[in-house]
Symmetry: C3
Subunit: 359 residues, 3 copies
């Protein structure tokens, strides 16, 4: 782990005990991991988002933190690439696994036994990340949240509503016809748009969702706009196939659209009007695929998580033709704003920038 | 788009307005796309097949044409490889998506709102085609109808029987035991064999099915024979595991067998007695896999479309051992009859033939 | 088939008729195939294991033998790589397909029609093996029992409980809450551990399971220990999510753990304390994934077979980081004990050992 001495050598005497230094480093890696959930990469944004999670529910915040730290530590122990660990790439899947375990747990808050599957699931996500990266690298594709989606599906399949130790709520397919449908209020639907951003962290309260959005804005305003746009598109897609009102109002219809829109709009493709249109298509695709997969997995009582956005973005990253010329190689992906500036430079052959994981 | 001047330069003065010229070109590309559905590649056959579709049902013909043109145009707009577009490779998936949407739509014919998902689904199939081609190219595999199968499954999952805007019929698993089974008439089962060829275009009438077969004969008699043979094998496979009589009589048991048989018998493998045996195996494999997948997807009310044939042929194209020596590289695949003649030549090092997409 | 003269040329005059010689060779290949089921490779162990199967149920022994011979012969006919055939790599999938068909068949023993799907299924597994090997070779991954798992799922989907020709029992998901749960006896659970080793061959009797374990010990004591350890871990995992008592007592909870533990502990990774910990993780992962997949496939009445162990081991073989340095390249994999000895040699550049398929 050369990571120990990678930065800030000049104040080593301030933090003489190595373990304190390691704890501080770990905190930075973990905070980067928090932002990775929403496709950002900035410890400060991470702190804001973590705060939002603790605000929404202290128990969820704790569960998320445990998952985040467990998977980051396991990655260190397994000797994963230190640049990846420092960039927070091994934290976000574990965190998402934990947050979803917490959100669907039906044994109530502060059910301490839940930390057992949280730790195991987070650790497993590191194995999935490492294994999948070898396969996806062949096509220069990001592993993204595939590990989270796989681990959480396995967890939900293992346990169930009636499990004596780890019971969980069942998800309801979005196309279920409600018994007594109420009229849809425009305000509630509009509220669903910012909630869609919060739902990326499995958070369904308005305040914390706005705080998460603020944290994202801190990293990249362009990405925050795409998140809102994508969530709105997702809600529109939900309306077009008449999903349950609950899905629209809680933001569940929007979060896959938001993820799909953010990933294409500026992050993995240089931002311009063509890729902006692609980002809108990506949001629609993610949203419709999410409705399809939610109906499929919902038939087994499982949520579709972010399978839809992950699969859709992976597909669009594989695209050939004119649009593929705007794609940014994975090793050069930064914040949308920096992508726009740096593209010209590296295309001109200037290869001085290698710090692709720092922001 | 160098495609504009690719052929027939001598009569450009006849069609001075460029848009007319483009429309004519597009028509040829689209008609090639029609034949691609049934693994052929010939605008004239395409015209015959399209005629058959309009004969069977004008609404289905219209829906199919809209899907065909949409996906071809989207491919042009997305700047896909012009040789592929000219060869009709971007039309057939969109057409199939549209035809299936039309065939399973339960809101009745001339339900104009259906054109909305038809256009969206066809456009999406281009994205899937482009993305999947990058992955499958590594093993020199054709993308085939994977995009169609994926898009249509997503569409069926998104909507449902009770969808207020886009309701569709539910498919019944072939192994469902009927309440009052009637005796099976040999004539009806035999009729199912040519119907199996029509079912490739989701067409269940005998006359149009025979016309489609005639169109296929125009392109390659060998392939037409394989289509009938495969459909017969599919029916046999259906009988062997006692599927519902309806599946046998409507040709639904046969069409995957037909596709599997055609693809291996002469198209992707040089025709000889060994590959003929492989084609028969392929038809059996496709038919049995289709029964399996129809039972699986039918449990969710969805048809298995041509998943079975696509997966089986993909598997057989990956085959190693003696049989793989007869495999024709994807770039050299032509009509079965021409494959037989050209093989000797290109094996002898004669590389003058590059026009692999023309027939 | 250069295989004919590969060994024992000096006593060719003893077995003048070539067909007898071929039959003897085939027997050795087939016996190697028997051991491949349990990740071993030794004709003598194979004979012991086959004996155990005949002891448990003569009909199951016969069905297994038919499948084993069919798939080996089909591989010879299809001209598969002769080294693979001689190593028994084309026998074990067919054998497993047959054993599972027999075990779930509800038409009773000595139902001779079953040999039809047994032969077809075994033959199909060779096609799957050959096709999948081309894809998995890119990542130096073993095909393992993927073909078996795929073919048996297709078979179960094709037929069903009510099939008039090939009826089969339905599997029950392990998380089903029993109507009248009885207290769990420790003896029964402990008995489930050796039974877990037998369940790899779909054998649920204690005596034959112990004989199989003895046969494995003959090949590699280290692997036998890992099999028992993995089965115990699988049982523990089953207890932790409260699966049905029946699963625990019959060894069904244990066999995926056993496979996962054996594959990682010494076979595909050099044995040391780090990989021993990985083997334990692998057993846990396989066991939990098995519970998840059994619940998923069990909802359709199908058993999850060894999907879990196969997928888990494939994932761990893809692992990057420190642990991947202990991975043994696929072409050099031998018995665990020989892996430990030979690693030093081939790392030192000594490349004299090429007989990786012999034991």
């Amino acid at each position: 782990m050369g990571a120990f001495n990678s930065a800030g050598d000049w104040y080593w005497w301030l933090l003489l005990p190595v373990y304190k230094w390691f704890v501080l480093q770990l905190a930075v890696w973990a905070l980067r991991g928090v932002t990775r959930v929403i496709l950002a990469n900035n410890p400060l944004s991470g702190a804001v988002m973590l705060l939002a999670l603790y605000w929404a529910s202290p128990w969820q915040g704790l569960v998320g933190t445990v998952g985040l730290l467990t998977s980051t530590l396991i990655a260190v122990i397994l000797g994963q690439d230190s640049a990846e660990v420092r960039g927070g790439l091994h934290g976000f899947n574990g965190m998402l696994v934990s947050l979803l375990m917490g959100a669907f747990n039906s044994a109530g808050d502060w059910y301490w036994w839940l930390l057992l599957p949280v730790c195991l699931g987070s650790a497993t996500s590191v194995f999935f990340f490492s294994g999948l990266s070898q396969v996806l690298d062949r096509w220069d594709l990001p592993v993204a949240v595939f590990p989270f989606n796989m681990v959480i599906v396995l967890y939900f399949l293992c346990t169930g509503r009636d499990n004596p130790y780890f019971p969980h709520r069942l998800a309801v397919p979005p196309s279920t016809v409600p018994l007594n449908a109420t009229a849809l209020s425009a305000t509630e639907v509009l509220q669903g748009i910012p909630l869609g951003v919060g739902q990326i962290f499995a958070c369904g309260s308005l305040g914390p969702s706005l705080l998460i959005l603020a944290g994202l804005c801190l990293y990249s305003p362009l990405q925050a706009i795409h998140a809102l746009l994508g969530s709105a598109i997702g809600t529109l897609a939900g309306l077009s196939v008449a999903v349950r009102h609950e899905c629209l109002c809680t933001g569940l219809s929007g979060f896959n659209g938001a993820l799909g829109c953010m990933a294409v709009g500026g992050l993995f493709f240089t931002f311009n009007w063509r890729t902006h249109l692609l980002a809108i298509s990506s949001a629609f695709l993610s949203a419709f695929v999410d409705i399809a997969l939610s109906n499929l997995l919902g038939a087994m009582g499982m949520p579709a998580c972010s399978w839809a956005a992950t699969l859709s973005v992976t597909l669009l990253l594989l695209l050939t033709g004119t649009l593929s010329t705007y794609r940014i190689p994975l090793a050069r992906v930064k914040a949308p704003e920096r992508n726009m500036r740096s593209r010209g430079r590296w295309e001109a052959g200037n290869t001085e920038e290698r710090d692709s994981t720092d922001v």
